[in-house]
Symmetry: C2
Subunit: 294 residues, 2 copies
């Protein structure tokens, strides 16, 4: 569950306008390489049908992508030369503003549930509609950490995993040190904390300790948009495919998340996923092994 958006992206490698974006898209497409995905989102009456067809072509169930009267969520961002920083140029929520996510009946038996960044009370509502999930995880952002602290803590207490970036982890816990920050978050509820660090990779904290996954050193990065959501999609997809929730499998799922994020940023929007094979995914997993082996 998350946003579907039309993005304007301005990056050193070029500019694109009105391209497919949003956390739910990046997540679902990345996860679709690992098994069946059911998306929950809302789009406006202006949303191109071809985008829904693309999602369906990836085997994603779009029964939960509701079409509402009004405009699709639009976001515009400009990346700096380093690609580590970006400015938001505009955010036009459109139909996303009144989004009240409802799981289609056929979704309620889903075993793996991911709640992308949205108001924590809406995340909780979705969670409560899932009958007996085996593993639930969520993302959040500075806006909710600042303004809806109580609701956020209520939702955090109910999920198995939190996947956020380093700045958000520090903001949420008032701890500069990420090891301490992760410990504070685990005390709030999630058994598993994943801290995303962009081009520096990700850290997984669970009861077995810490796991450090590098980001893949790429020769070319066109567009970092959606990398974190693609990471989450690869992570949840790999976890669901394997089925086991032990530390070994969590670690491998984090690497699959890193693999999907590394493909995501190679092209604007979801461009790279339109021509990505399972063999390429397994190939890059092998490259991750070679990258970290000593």
């Amino acid at each position: 569950m998350g946003s579907v958006a039309l993005d304007d992206i301005d990056a050193p490698a070029g500019r694109v306008q009105g391209v497919l974006g949003g956390a739910a898209c990046y997540f679902s497409v990345a996860a679709s390489y690992f098994g069946a995905v059911r998306a929950v989102a809302v789009v406006g009456s202006d949303f191109p049908r071809e985008h829904l067809e693309f999602l369906s072509s990836r085997g994603i169930d779009t029964a939960g992508i509701y079409r509402a009267e009004g405009d699709t969520f639009r976001w515009g961002g400009r990346y700096h030369a380093s690609l580590n920083d970006r400015d938001t140029l505009f955010t036009e929520l459109g139909v996303f503003e009144g989004f009240d996510p409802v799981l289609p009946d056929a979704y309620r038996n889903s075993e793996f549930v991911f709640l992308a960044n949205i108001h924590p009370s809406l995340q909780l509502r979705v969670l409560e509609q899932a009958r007996a999930p085996r593993f639930t995880a969520m993302d959040t952002m500075d806006f909710w950490i600042e303004r809806t602290r109580d609701e956020l803590e209520e939702t955090l207490a109910r999920v198995d995993g939190l996947v956020i970036n380093d700045q958000e982890a520090r903001q949420l816990t008032a701890e500069q040190n990420l090891v301490r920050a992760a410990a504070v978050i685990r005390d709030l509820g999630p058994r598993i904390v994943i801290i995303k660090r962009g081009e520096h990779g990700a850290l997984l904290f669970d009861e077995a300790g810490v796991f450090a996954a590098p980001a893949f050193p790429l020769l070319e990065v066109q567009d970092p948009t959606g990398a974190g959501d693609s990471f989450a999609g690869g992570f949840m997809g790999a976890l669901a495919r394997e089925g086991r929730l032990d530390s070994e499998n969590l670690r491998r799922a984090v690497i699959y998340g890193s693999v999907m994020a590394s493909f995501c940023v190679e092209r604007f929007s979801l461009g790279r996923f339109r021509a990505l094979s399972g063999a390429e995914i397994e190939g890059r997993l092998a490259q991750f092994r070679s990258l970290t082996r000593f």
Copy 2:
């Protein structure tokens, strides 16, 4: 070869004044856990004898640490809350300004030579005094990249390895992308490029490809000063101890470098090294394995 300094450090964890520092100290002490080290540096007439005794107690040959009339190099820095940024409060070069490094005769057969950050022409002079080194590496900084470009390229063409941080790599090559930056540097001469990324670890580039080493996720960091030099000391020390220069051994040496950097930052100045055992080093190496295993 490098600086010996007396540092004033202001960090969130506290403040210290006139403590032992300088690249040559951090490097030599870190390397001393792996074998014999010969230091080349200069100190002033004010330099406390106990510091030299500490270096000697670590088995470091201090015959090349010359005492000159005047003041020891002094540096003062203040770290920000994140510990990733610091302001230099003052730099008083003292006797370091006129330093003309000469290898004692007994040093000239050294097989592993590390040239810490100093004017590239002086680095070259030291290199030329080594009779038949098997592996040479150097560090540098923004100041030399900006002002002594020709001399820097001349020295770079003569060393086997360059160990620098990510900002310097970008500045040296005018490439934002670190994979491209490393390729440009390798074209300038060094077969091996190590890019240090502070709390995000280090990347090793050699003919076998890329190796990503994480930094150790520490619960407490008191003072990041000297982490890069301790990394270089652990790296060169481990490399010299093993003797082989193949990719396997380079990777393990990078992890030993990361181990020594992780100990370095746990205490102010060289405090952690005053009570560090070889068993602790091997223990943390095992923790690095567990940190990266999948």
